[in-house]
Structure formats: C-alpha cells, structure tokens
Amino acid sequence: MSEAVVHSNSVNAKPPTKKPASPMRLALREMRKNKFAMAGLIVLVLMFLFCFIGPMFSPYSMDDAMNIRNANKAPSADHWMGTDKVGRDVLLRVMVAGQTSLMVGIVAMLVTVAIGSTLGAISGYYRGWVDTIIMRLADIIMSIPSLPVLIILGAALSELKMDPANRIYLVMFLIGFLSWPSLARLVRGQILMLREQEFMQAAEVLGLRDRRKIFRHLLPNTVPIIIVVGTLAVAGGILMESVLSFLGLGVVPPTPSWGNMISAANSMIEFQKRPWLWIPPGVCIFITVVSINIMGDGLRDALDPKSKR
C-alpha cells in the first residue's frame, strides 16, 4: 500500500510556471536541479582544465630530451605517474594526450552535427525524392558496421604513410562521418512535424527563401535534440578514437592520445610490471566519458518535456 502512495506522489503534475520563460532557460533550470548532471559537468570542466592548463604547471615539457637513465621509473614524488620507456613523465603525457582525445571527440561531434542536422532538415523539408535519397543513404551507412570499417580505413591510412599530424584530422572526420545518420533521422522527424505548424505558414506568407526557412526557422527548433545527441556523440567519439588508437590505427605517435598510451599494454612486460603506463589514460577516458554521458542524460531529461519527473 505504501508503495502506491509513493507512486501517486511522484506522478504529481508540476504547478505551471508563472512567467513564460524561454525553453532553453527552463531547460537550464531543470538541469541545475539534477545533481548527477551538474556533477558530471563539473568533473568535465575539471578534466578540461587538467588537460589544457595542467601542462603549464608541470616541471617537464613535451620537448624535453629523452633520458634513458630515467626510464621506466615507478610513480614517485618527482614523477607522480612514473616515467615511460624513454624517461618521459607520464603525468604530462596523460594531460597532453587528453587534449588530443578531447579534440577528436569534439571535432567528430561537430562533423556529425553539421552533416546530420543539415541533411536531416533538408530531407524533412523537401520530402519526396530528396528525402528518399538521403534516408536511403542513411540506411546504408547505418547498416555498415562502423568499427570494422574504421579499422580498415585506419589500416589504409597507415599504408599510405600519412603524416601523423594530418592524420588526426582525418580520423576525426571519419568518426564523425559514420555517425551522422541517426541524428539526421531524429532531426528529419522533428522537421516533418514542425513544417506543418502555423509559424511556417507565416514564413511562407512572408515569402522567405527555403534556406532561410530551414536554417532560421526550422532548425533552431530542433536544437534541444541536437544538443543531446551532440553531447553523447562527443563521448562516442572519444571511445571510438581510443579503440582505434589502441589498435595503432587512429592517432599515432608521436602525437599522444589516451588510446595510444594504453597500447603500451600490448607489450607483456609493460602490461604486467608497469601498470602506471596504461592505467592512468584508461581512467581518464573512463572519467571523461562517464561525465559526458551523465550530463547528456541530464540534458535529455531537462530538454524533453515527456521525461519530466
């Protein structure tokens, strides 16, 4: 019986807010109430500071000469996370690697959002054969398993002996490119619904151009969905990059990334005897992705009126 009472309480409708606030502000207010999501956001900010500001406080620098005599030291007061096989400070490398991994995640997300929302909007706005073609393309890309294809393309990049500095950009683009279809579908669904609404008739009467109607009037209304999918896409991008780099097919040395630092574990001795080489970057990936996921989920709750508590 007590169970039933608890439930009827939790379904209670919220009193309507008095002032009409913008949906974004309402969402922010909702988000601030979600302690989980706020904790995720704070941890994420700290992780960014750690990666981008942290190296300035390190007594070492990425340009330091290799020091073999100082190699393979366990964590100590001088080197909090020990040193690697050529005597470089692992803590500094973890921070710099984080810059790469976070960048890959963010740029891959931007690629996904740019392609996904544009194609989704065009598809939903024009319907007809344009829609058919774009959605067929989305079906095809969604059916192709992305990890095997990324691995194959990664191997191809290695075969081409591409410059590691440029290679990162390609990796970002490829990861982003393979994940646009699901966002495109969501945006398309929203646009299909929005284009029938009255404000679009007004836009019609004003004689606005299609481009303006799509990008100024329709797409802004799908921003909540794009934000949620985009946030989660950053997490997905970071995970994907780490797997590829772990296999030596994503970001390759000398550019450090969390994934390629963990590939140190591929050698039996380092795996068994020197866990400080591969556990810290793994923990960093974990912390980052967890906080992004939790934050994304909080955002979804905040932005989606259906999931209000």
Binding site: H7, R136, S242, G282
Partner: protein, 318 residues
C-alpha cells in the same frame, strides 16, 4: 502478414545493394594487398597471383565478380587462410556465438531484475547507485576493461586463465574439455556482460517506469492484488513488449564477435580473425566479414520490425 513480410524483405534489397557498392568501393580504394606486402613472393608469381585473384581488375569488374559470388553463397577466397571465406566464417563464428550467447542470456537476466527493481524504487538510493553504475559500465572502453580484468584476475590473482579457449598442451576429453572451455570463457563473458548490461538495464527501467504509471496498474492495485503480482505479472509483461524488438537488434551482435575483447583474450572467434586479416591484408576475408555483419544488421532490423507488429496490435492495424 505474409505480404507484409515479403514487402519488408523486398525493401532491404536497395539497402543491401548500396552497402555492397560502398564496401567494394572502400576495398578498391585502399592501397596495399596481400601479394605486395609479402616479400617472399617472386615478381612473376606476384603478377600471376594478382591475375588469379583479380587484384588488377577495374572496380566495376571487381564488383560484378564479387556480387556474382555472393549470390551463389560464395564470399571469395581467404588468401591468408588458404580457404573459402565462408568456411572461415563457419569455423570461427560458433566460438563467437558461444560467448555472445552466454553474454546475452546473462545480461538480459541481470538487466530485467535490476531494471525492474530500480524502476519500482525510482529515486531511491538503490536507483541512484544503479543509475551511476549503468553509466559507469557504458563508459568503459572494452579494451581497457578487458586489460584490467586480465591484470587483476589472471595475472595478479591467478584465478582465471589469461586467454585462449583451451589450456595449451592439455588435451582434455569429454567433460574435462567442457570444463576447460568454460573456465576460459568466464573472464571474457564477464567483461562483455558488463559492457552490455548497462544499456539494457536502462531500457528496462524506462520501459517499466512507463508501464507503472498507467491506469491498469492502479486498477490492479485497487483490486487488492499483492504488490509482487502487480509488478511481475501485470507490469513486467507489458514492459517486455517493446523489449522483444530488441531481440531483433541483438541478432548481429550475436554473430559478429567482439573484435577487441576476443583479440585481447585470444579467443578464437570471428572478430579476432577479422583483426588478424587486417595485418595480413586479406581483403576477401575482411570484405566478406563486413558484408556478413551488414547483412545481419539489415535482417535484424526486419526481424525487429516484424516482431513489433506481432506483439503490438496497434502497429499491425496501420
């Protein structure tokens, strides 16, 4: 219903053709091949081999040859294994299914139980802990979790074997063999279940929450039914309906093999074989495997669609 099944199957044909075009194109464009990356092959032999496997053909010829084969149930010839690709897939895929099947059963059981309880006690401490754990396991990179598990349980504590499917050198027979394989399965199964169970738990929790709020649950309570009956008989059954379609989506992962986990644990599954094929530049094997998974994904979607029609009359009406 039959016409619907046929129509739905016909719809997959353009997608399948699209997938095959994209895949053959990718494989055509990537540089390097088995013959050139093997220095032991003489020049004359190399030209001969390239001619034999059609490595010099223009892309449309490659595509036509390959598709003709696929239609006859032939995915090409694996150069590094010196056997047809279908034979390789058949040999290794069942090892993958063994693991994936165990993972699926385990994760569904855990996810249903945990999902139901955290939905019933929404916003409780238990629910909070579960929600956090769900995100935690969803956020671990598979290879890192695998490596940690090996380091902790196989290297440091020596409870489980480090990898492989059987103990090397020991030729067990009968039950001893079964036991040996089981022992090797435990760690990869735990790792994969951990990675898999998060999303499922979340799914059941949401689905259960939707059902619990509905009127017929209140009616059931009002009738004076026991809370256990209400939750497990009335609510859970309805919450399972959308989950049934998930079974369709799980088809590809059942056969695809977990590439990373299999190779870390040295398990002789199809995913690990695929990773090895990359180093050997064994194109037909890579192409065959990728197409095999894409095919299963498409079939899985159809199955999910049809199952949804079967279990939900509202969809069938349309």
């Amino acid at each position: 219903m039959t016409t619907q099944v046929i129509r739905r199957l016909l719809q997959t044909i353009p997608t399948l053709i699209g997938v095959s075009i994209v895949l053959v194109l990718i494989f055509h464009l990537i540089p390097g091949n088995f013959v050139d990356s093997n220095p032991t092959i003489s020049k004359e032999r190399a030209t001969e081999l390239k001619e034999m496997y059609g490595l010099n053909d223009p892309v449309h010829i490659k595509y036509i040859k390959w598709t003709q084969g696929v239609l006859k149930g032939d995915l090409g010839y694996s150069i590094s294994h010196k056997q047809p690709v279908t034979t390789i897939i058949d040999r290794y895929v069942w090892n993958s299914v063994l693991i994936a099947g165990a993972v699926m059963v385990l994760s569904w059981i855990i996810a249903i139980i945990v999902g139901v309880f955290s939905a019933v006690r929404q916003h409780s401490f238990f629910d909070g802990v579960i929600t956090f754990l769900v995100f935690a396991v969803m956020s671990l990179p598979s290879f890192f979790l695998g490596l940690l598990a090996i380091k902790l349980f196989a290297v440091d504590m020596r409870i489980f074997p480090i990898g492989g499917m059987t103990t090397t050198g020991a030729n067990y027979e009968g039950w001893a063999h079964v036991w040996d394989v089981l022992e090797h399965m435990i760690l990869p199964v735990i790792v994969l279940t951990a990675l898999n169970v998060g999303g499922l738990t979340r799914y059941f929790r949401t689905s259960m929450l939707d059902v619990i709020k509905q009127d017929f649950i209140r009616t059931a309570r009002a009738k004076g039914l026991k809370e256990r009956t209400v939750i497990f008989k009335h609510a859970l059954r309805n919450a399972m309906i959308p989950a049934i379609t998930l079974l369709g989506f799980e088809i590809p992962s059942l056969f695809a093999g977990a590439m990373i986990t299999e190779s870390i644990f040295n398990w002789p599954g199809i995913g690990g074989v695929f990773l090895d094929a990359i180093t050997a530049r064994d194109y037909f094997l890579m192409l065959g495997y990728t197409f095999f998974i894409a095919f299963l994904t498409i079939i899985g979607n159809v199955v999910a669609d049809l199952m949804y029609r079967v279990v939900d009359p509202r969809v069938r009406m349309k």
